[in-house]
Symmetry: C2
Subunit: 228 residues, 2 copies
């Protein structure tokens, strides 16, 4: 393919920065490219946007293709548009990010598609400006987590308070006091205690909770602050 032809017109791409949480670590979904361009390099999952779809549609398509997930709300990070950001195309890329819950279905699908989870503390070299995108996304979610209960999207439907705390510690990169954390989270009244215990984490076991979407919606309407 003649490189110069691709510089004559705009291509629009979307790159998806997908975070998951597993084993107490925040992780990024990385694509081990077995396809050109950039065969055998690592990248975010992404695609050119087709002429007949919106950027969001393309992002949804990609996420479904790689994880099988539908109905995940991806937030827009920003647009990357330097003239020379991609040597092969005059391409602007819209970066979108989401936090997802890792379960066995997704694990399987992810493996089949040649993607792997990498701890955010140790992200490998990615193609083009994908490392920059990832860093920008990490900054964004750290900031956003202070004002939105962003973390619940990453945990299984039933989770314990210590699990939730570990997640926030991973996002903030600092340790939190368990008494204050528990008090703060419960004060928001958006999680419901269940009768069951999870005994994976300890012998005593920790009570499971679930997120109460209805109460969260009510809270949103009355101007909230989710700082922990």
């Amino acid at each position: 393919m003649d490189v110069y032809l691709n510089k004559d017109k705009f291509y629009v791409a979307v790159d998806c920065i997908i975070f998951g949480f597993e084993a107490g670590k925040l992780k990024l979904l990385v694509f081990n490219r077995k396809i050109d361009p950039f065969k055998d390099s690592l990248s975010l999952i992404g695609s050119f946007v087709k002429i007949g779809e919106s950027v969001s549609d393309a992002a949804i398509r990609i996420l479904k293709e790689f994880t099988g997930l539908e109905n995940v709300y991806m937030k827009e990070l920003k647009t990357y548009s330097s003239v020379d950001r991609d040597p092969g195309y005059r391409c602007i890329s819209v970066a979108k990010y989401a936090l997802i819950r890792i379960n066995s279905d997704i694990k399987k699908k992810v493996e089949e598609n040649g993607t792997t989870w990498h701890e955010v503390d140790n992200i490998p070299q990615l193609i083009l400006d994908h490392n920059e995108m990832t860093n920008d996304a990490l900054k964004r979610i750290e900031k956003n987590a202070r004002y939105k209960p962003i973390g619940f999207e990453l945990l299984p439907e039933k989770f314990t308070i210590p699990q939730l705390q570990k997640l926030y510690e991973a996002i903030y990169r600092r340790v939190l006091d368990p008494r204050n954390f528990r008090k703060k989270i419960l004060s928001h009244d958006i999680i419901t205690k269940l009768e069951e215990k999870d005994r994976k984490g300890s012998k005593k076991g920790a009570f499971l909770y679930k997120f109460d979407h209805q109460k969260y919606l009510n809270m949103q309407q009355s101007g909230y602050n989710f700082e922990v």
Copy 2:
């Protein structure tokens, strides 16, 4: 020009949502189009992005063209990319916004270019999705103003505390207590009192202040909260 040709490839545009503050009102810069497409309609200021420039470069070019301003940092709002958002082109638009200081130079330039300031409480019908962009931008600055001293960009270099308060009241769309406002602003220690008074607002006159950029930078580094 054959419309269908324009639907075969992506066009990239940038639209700039420029806010100013004048006479106690927050205002939007609107372009009274004397050019096609959309001759005689109103729009935001904007342009197609050229193949050899980034989206930011295009935004800077447009802002300079319409206001004469350089060195204004425009923040990215988001990308608008519905397939049918523009009937004439397959065009995605990146919306950028900024808050600027209205002075006599700008007033003159703005007039020459066929643009006018409209109060944000009373924005006319704009073309395409430009009203949506404007509403999204207003929501964004309202949210951001809580955590950044966003307002200083809109005021003249020397300003009084009552002027600053009116600006925040315009952004938040509610009245603030003058004692608490003054206390909060001064506690941040990022404005410096001058010896001069401004007597335009009252017979007694109000002391002028100026924004201390250096102190603001220091404050940013140590994790700040600018809520008023």
